[in-house]
């Protein structure tokens, strides 16, 4: 018992000594590392931990070490709200990264705005940065941009009438709405609009119905998780030979494996440079950043790098850059520096923020990819 007490006391003393005293710059994060959105939050949390360690090993930001305060909100907006408040009030962080999902982002957003702490979200919805809020930024593309990228390619192929089959999960429903909103600008008409539940085992009735609709020239499937893999397999099973498009929600090697290389052959989707890291041209501006992140992440964790981890990579790089330029840890100065970011190359794209653009990416950040022989080939 006595040794135990001594050990415990020594441990507390050691923790106390290694605590806040050393770290000068405190960054906060609330991510969904577990729970239903863990496929987003898990690689994001791993990426942040890896990057903080690497940064501190290299001397931190201008010689000052960075301490990361990371909470796992499990995808629950209420927990995200609690953690955001704790980050601001107890941990006194200078900036917050997080909100793996749009729901948790919305919780953190209000806390960040009220307390004037810069906040970089990792979630997709366009409503996070539209209207622009002074302290809120985000790194992923919006689903609206994914729709625009896909429709641009369809229009180039002379496609005028399409069928859509969307997941009823948050991602699928949101993208379905955005696509329907912008489709008119491309001279394309949605003549069949079907949905499926995120856990459905078979969608051949919906696909049969789309195939039977007159004039359909291509099919688009917004969704993520297992749905798109099952849609792709059923598409192949029915032998439909129309051009087939998936969303950026399934832009990963795991998707090809789940759907089967045969079934996925020839389908197109908008993805990021991370997917084709090995194929990027020598003069591609993203080549160095993307290849370095992929190599480091895969060496550190022994698992494939994902687009979602890339969002966290970019958020961290943006903040480090802004803090360095702000020359201190004043949140308002960091925000101003963040908004002045210009031409910062990330894994998702090249960011240039302005007073009326807190996303800072354009359509060129998306690469239109086609699956050929079980691998990704850029088509534009």
């Amino acid at each position: 018992m006595k040794t135990l007490t001594t050990t415990a006391l020594a441990l507390i003393a050691a923790l106390g000594a290694a605590g806040p005293g050393l770290a000068e710059i405190r960054l906060g994060a609330s991510l969904s590392a577990t729970g239903p959105a863990s496929f987003l939050g898990d690689p994001e949390a791993k990426t942040l931990e890896m990057m903080v360690e690497a940064l501190n090993a290299a001397g931190g930001i201008d010689g000052e070490p960075v301490e990361l305060v990371l909470y796992d909100d499990g995808g629950d907006p209420n927990k995200a709200l609690t953690f955001a408040t704790r980050l601001v009030e107890d941990d006194e962080v200078v900036a917050i990264i997080g909100g793996s999902t749009t729901g948790t982002t919305m919780s953190i957003l209000s806390v960040a705005e009220d307390n004037e702490i810069p906040f970089v979200s990792l979630a997709g919805a366009v409503s996070i940065v539209d209207p622009v809020r002074p302290f809120v930024f985000k790194t992923p593309h919006t689903d609206r941009m994914a729709c625009e990228k896909i429709f641009t390619d369809m229009a180039a192929r002379g496609i005028e009438k399409i069928g859509m089959i969307s997941g009823t999960d948050g991602f699928g429903a949101s993208m379905q709405a955005q696509c329907k909103d912008v489709v008119g600008q491309f001279g394309i008409e949605i003549v069949a609009d079907e949905t499926y539940g995120p856990k459905d085992a078979d969608v051949t009735p919906q696909l049969t119905k789309i195939r039977g609709t007159g004039g359909v020239q291509a099919v688009l499937n917004p969704g993520f998780g297992q749905g798109p893999a099952i849609v792709t397999r059923n598409y192949h099973q029915l032998g439909i030979d129309l051009p087939f498009y998936q969303s950026h929600g399934v832009a990963s090697d795991a998707f090809i494996e789940l759907a089967g290389a045969d079934a996925a052959e020839g389908l197109r989707l908008p993805g990021t440079a991370l997917l084709i890291a090995g194929q990027l041209a020598e003069d591609d501006p993203q080549r160095a950043v993307v290849q370095a992140y992929k190599a480091e992440f895969e060496a550190a964790y022994g698992m494939d790098v994902s687009t979602f981890g890339g969002y966290a990579h970019d958020a961290f790089a943006l903040l480090v850059d802004a803090i360095s330029r702000a020359g201190g840890d004043d949140p308002v100065a960091i925000r101003d520096a963040l908004e002045a970011t210009s031409g910062l190359v990330g894994t998702t794209g090249t960011y240039s923020f302005s007073a009326d653009d807190h996303l800072g990416l354009d359509l060129s950040a998306f690469r239109l990819l086609e699956i050929r022989d079980g691998g990704w080939v850029p088509v534009d």
């Binding site: 051949t204 009735p205 893999a229 099952i230 789940l258």
Partner: protein
């Protein structure tokens, strides 16, 4: 006509998945009147363990057998560690214990395995079979065959074997069953082991179609439960018919009405049936002695 055939194939495929899950509910319910909400987790474990054993280099049949045995052992452990200590508690309390067990198993699976989606290769290839202008995957036939085999096995077990009748007697009146010499503790162990094994078998068969991740159990259990309620809880015939009917409702609604309403229509039909026949299509009429 081609379209109708395709809808029917889809409905039967999905329905067989529901039926396999629904059949798993049957034994525990028959032994103890308890609806085991961890049944979906047994299905998930069957899929997950097979996937990981297969990745580790075991041939598929061996991996599947290992998964079924491991899950059955877990079912027995669940009974020993969580259900038996609560003997004498009302049925509702035991049901809540099974909900807790499902959350625990899900959390443990997330830690022991991972949070990614996984698939298994189809047992007899991916080339669709063409019948009258519609297509069905060979794996669907495996699922349908599996559901039929489990159904026949359970039906024979409950009507043709003394052990099966002992299970029913235990459910009917545990004290009376003990008085006539039935080892009710053993019956419960058997019920949990068998239910878990059937769940795991379902997981092995459906994973090539539905894919598997640590959290698929809840969705499967919900649909399986709905199918079992529609057919009549505790009756293998009901589980099979309920599952297939539920799958057909969904597929036909998606095909002829709108995919937006397919779940709504399926559940309205279930509500309608339960309103007219509260015991489900094949359920035994409940008589309670007061």
């Amino acid at each position: 006509m081609d379209a109708l055939m395709q809808f029917v194939f889809s409905g039967v495929t999905v329905g067989a998945v529901y039926a396999l899950v629904a059949l798993g509910f049957t034994i525990i319910y028959n032994a103890s009147d308890v609806v085991n909400f961890a049944q979906g987790e047994f299905v998930m474990l069957g899929g997950m363990i097979t996937v990981f054993a297969h990745l580790a280099g075991l041939p598929l049949p061996l991996a599947a057998l290992g998964a079924i045995l491991a899950t059955a052992a877990l079912g027995v452990a669940l009974n020993r560690l969580a259900i038996e200590p609560a003997r004498g508690a009302p049925v509702v309390s035991v049901i809540i214990i099974t909900i807790g067990a499902s959350i625990l198993i899900r959390g443990a699976a997330q830690l022991i395995f991972d949070k990614q989606l996984h698939g298994l290769p189809a047992f007899s290839g991916d080339d669709p079979i063409r019948v009258m202008g519609a297509t069905i995957l060979p794996q669907s036939l495996w699922v349908i065959g599996g559901a039929l085999a489990v159904f026949v096995g359970l039906w024979a077990f409950f009507t043709r074997t003394l052990t099966g009748k002992a299970v029913l007697a235990t459910s009917n009146n545990r004290t009376a069953a003990q008085l006539v010499g039935i080892n009710t503790g053993w019956v419960m162990t058997l019920a949990f082991g068998l239910s878990a094994a059937i769940g795991a078998l379902a997981g092995v068969l459906v994973t090539p179609i539905t894919l598997v991740s640590y959290d698929v159990g809840v969705g499967l259990a919900l649909k399986g439960f709905a199918a079992a309620m529609l057919g009549g809880m505790g009756n293998p015939k009901g589980a099979l018919a309920g599952g297939i009917l539920l799958g057909l409702f969904e597929a036909l609604t998606a095909g002829y009405v709108s995919s937006h309403y397919k779940e709504a229509v399926a559940f309205i039909v279930i509500l309608g049936v339960l309103f007219a026949m509260p015991q489900g299509l094949f359920g035994r009429a409940g008589t309670e002695r007061v």
